[in-house]
Symmetry: C2
Subunit: 459 residues, 2 copies
Amino acid sequence: MSILLDSPVDALRQYVSFSSVSADQNFAEGVTGAREFACSRLKELGFEVDLISTPIHPIILATRGDPSWPKLVIYGHYDVQPPDPLDLWTTDPFDPVEREGRLYGRGAADNKGPQIVHMAALARVFRDNPDYPLHITYLIEGEEEIGSPSFRGFLEEHKEKLQGDLLLVSDTGSPSPNQLVVTTGLRGLSAMEVKIYGPKQDLHSGVHGGALLNPLQALMQACSSLHDKEGRVTVPGFYDAVRPPEQWERDELDKLPITEDEYAKFLGVPEFFPPPGYSSLEGIRFCPTLEFNGVGGGYQGEGSKTVIPAEAFAKITCRLVPDQKAEDIARKVKQAIIDACPSAVRVEVELKGGGDPYVVIPPGKPGSSGQESDLMKKAFSVAEDCIESNFGTRPIFLREGGSIPIIQDLKELAGLDSLMIGLFTNEDNLHAPDESFHLGIMERAINSFEEFFNQLVRD
Amino acid sequence: MSILLDSPVDALRQYVSFSSVSADQNFAEGVTGAREFACSRLKELGFEVDLISTPIHPIILATRGDPSWPKLVIYGHYDVQPPDPLDLWTTDPFDPVEREGRLYGRGAADNKGPQIVHMAALARVFRDNPDYPLHITYLIEGEEEIGSPSFRGFLEEHKEKLQGDLLLVSDTGSPSPNQLVVTTGLRGLSAMEVKIYGPKQDLHSGVHGGALLNPLQALMQACSSLHDKEGRVTVPGFYDAVRPPEQWERDELDKLPITEDEYAKFLGVPEFFPPPGYSSLEGIRFCPTLEFNGVGGGYQGEGSKTVIPAEAFAKITCRLVPDQKAEDIARKVKQAIIDACPSAVRVEVELKGGGDPYVVIPPGKPGSSGQESDLMKKAFSVAEDCIESNFGTRPIFLREGGSIPIIQDLKELAGLDSLMIGLFTNEDNLHAPDESFHLGIMERAINSFEEFFNQLVRD
């Protein structure tokens, strides 16, 4: 386990150098490389490592400790988002480079950096206490960035191996290197792809224009019918199950060390466009969205080409909040798109999976059950202290806008609630060019987790 | 002039092998090659050849004969459309191949084949009559497929060289190899590109979704506001200047040897979508359109990528009918798009030029002036006879849906009316994969034009 002890940054550099893009088969070698790297680190830490095969990318399942001990499960993912647009990267996304206290590369923050934090902390803990009395199950999947299509099947088959007292996750964000957030909710996700087919091939827009419906026109009419002018989703029933935020959640949000103005400047938008009745910072946490991630059809090159294209597509994802259900929303959006398409074109809507939203009420907060496991109660409390002692401030407890579709599945099928400690920030450019991980956070987080793991087993 | 006499098909093969894509600078060599090939043929035919430089691709201007003779101008273009999508071509678009009586390659029909027809006919005429008593001006441009942006400037500077009695053009279509059309009108064109800018870079749709307006959503809402559900263009004033078709035009259309059913089958569409009140065959001739030629933004690759893109674009062209004006329509559409864009994104609409629609009433048809030049009167009459003697049927006189933006400019600035004899058919796949030219039409057309040129100078 020398690299995790000697230089966690070098370990991260190596991990990021594997181009583990799960969405694209051209990156198969990078996916395998990242998986093998993670397995090697776990073996060095004394874990027994299994690879569970799935229809796409295998899941790493590793265990250490006596089954009679309190049980902690740790989750991560070894896959990353596609790197394009490549020309907007300052340096090669898979040749990680350190600049001004950050390590740049695809996946440095999402999710390889936080994984190295956990592993490096455990390396110190195990060095000092080889018989560390917690049964730890490590779960690292390779399909998170494509919506974890194999995870639920895996879970149904192996859920007994994942029974435990708490799930530890660091795949969420914090507002700044000095203010961490413990994430108490994640939005769900419903993904789909719309394809509209018109003429059997691209046509000359002069010779044939006026006779037929342009698939791009049909696509844009169907897609734009899904929102009203104020940005509300108009799909029938879309908001039916949305649960409004609790007052303590709004209070915690007020502690965020960021103003709406700073946030607008960071995004570079002329103005915000939150759902009516919400601020921008509320919108991303408490409201569902229907977002177009990619739309295309017809001529994409330089200059002009006067065609009516044969087909057009839209890639859509909805972010969901409690108590929306991913399957229900997918079905409703699909039907709304089909209903909005005229019969002069042919429409296909392929559902691409997703996951339900997740929410956990921290032990002791208004509305908590009091029935939480001892490990869970202790973990939430100890985490606050260890973070304060290393970062100078106590963490804020907040829902966030992103999705980890399998967290709710783990709750539903294995009964696991999650302690999610956010280690990346907006400046890390997740899913975007020039992704990076803040090395100051990395160092303080390793210290925090070393304390956290040690205090967790003290009486 | 041997290749034009010995093997017009070989001449066409050579001409097509030059990849003269005017829209894309990567094809600069092919553009130069095609231009030099055309110049060489004209020199062989005894023309004095000038190259007129423009901001993009030079214009070929060549003359032959005594300036005191009746003056014919012949127009063509040596540039072609981009070949993509390349994977849908059966063979290389720039390595022309003969299959089942057709020559396949980008530009084979649009416009290189028809040019070789004219030149091969003239080669025979000049061989038999070296002092052929017509002053011919050959005009071959290289920017037709990008909307002839330099042509009007060229015309304003050189219009005195283009004074004449008639313009001969073969850059229009006919319904079948046995039924040619003399085109009496062309739609105009207004081209523009819309760009919508949102956040300064692509964003994670979970972390930030709900705070801002997705540029794709804004683009699709703006674009889809330009048509109503029945397909009418909703831009204020768009239809104000549209002149309804004459009765004789509808009568000529009835002679077309194609049914709506056959046309739908040819296009491969489930049903037509003509403007309300028109059939599909009328729609492409008598009605203006607003067409999306290319739309894009966000992730275009395999699988999914959950981003909110920083920008999105739409390439739009309007086809115009008499008496719409290209500049007027461009201005109105641009304003409608800007008006439809919320202030939460930044919008740019770049006008890309175009041309006004053109219409000519054949001498003797209801509504003709009777003031046409002798050469024009003779040409329309002789053309009918020569076509009938080679194709077995008299041509139909019809407006068509395509645009040759400079035909109206030549009318306006040089006073030239056009005789447009269509030599390509729908099966030629113009602007699409597997473009080809029908070699049977080619042979009969060369014979027709040989007769036409000879009869044109007989008393």
